[in-house]
Point group: C2
Chain length 122, copies 2
DNA sequence: ATAGACCTTGACATCAATGTCAGGGTCAAG
DNA sequence: CTTGACCCTGACATTGATGTCAAGGTCTAT
């Protein structure tokens, strides 16, 4: 299968497929004319990549366990847990920071409105 | 006051002070030798900039109301409310997205551990 | 006059996945 | 043989505040 078809079947752009290859996530063989030639199984690989990217993982992190999860169930791949836990910690830190900013914004909006309401003609 | 002293008094790097100037947030006059010359009042300006940056606002947004809030109370500056509200909406969207990812991560971690525990010697 | 602390401008690097363009090859159908 | 759809590589842009370096000017104290 050529790259255009893979792109169409997975909904991933040709550009991104080449990028995933550059990051070591997929390794198509080459036809005689230089075109990339993908196994039909690569569709599943790309779907997996999409899934992990949607979890906020980087291509580098995905590269660390992708081979394993493609051959086994996730539970068999010990490499994946530290990644999940690291990402979870990052996400929670970000949520906390955003929540703090949100709180500050709400305070300032409230103060703004209180001052306008309380002193309408000062 | 020269840039080094302003940096020291505000805890903001010399690099950032120049950047704020480039973004139109501060406008020091120049000494005869070309050195930037800041009014002592600029310390307050920079403190305000720090505050708004910490709320997640961009220098461009800050530029839109900084002159007003330096002369008046915030409640007097109508320009600021749309900015606060836009930022609040962005923050809440981000929190929601991160919360969704967090939920997905927790699900996968739980599934991982359940599979290991449930089938320890499969 | 020289060292050293301070200032200047300009430029590149950061982070990461993706879009987009340029310049050029391949191939099948007409 | 030409058109058009598809492919290739390589490169720059995006986003935004900040770090850092280069090359050089200023000024003070020795």
């Amino acid at each position: 299968m050529r790259i255009g078809q893979l792109a169409q079947e997975t909904g991933v752009s040709v550009r991104s497929l080449r990028y995933y290859e550059q990051q070591g996530l997929i390794s198509p063989i080459r036809q005689e004319n230089g075109y990339r030639d993908y196994s039909p199984l690569t569709v599943h690989t790309v779907e997996a990549i999409k899934l992990y990217l949607n979890l906020g993982l980087s291509t580098e992190q995905i590269a660390g366990f992708l081979t394993c999860v493609l051959r086994n169930k996730e539970a068999f791949c010990a490499e994946i847990m530290p990644v999940y836990e690291k990402k979870l910690a990052e996400i929670e830190a970000q949520i906390q920071q955003l929540t703090q900013i949100r709180s500050n914004l709400l305070d300032r909006i409230a103060a703004f409105q209180a001052e306008r309401a309380g002193k309408p003609d000062e």
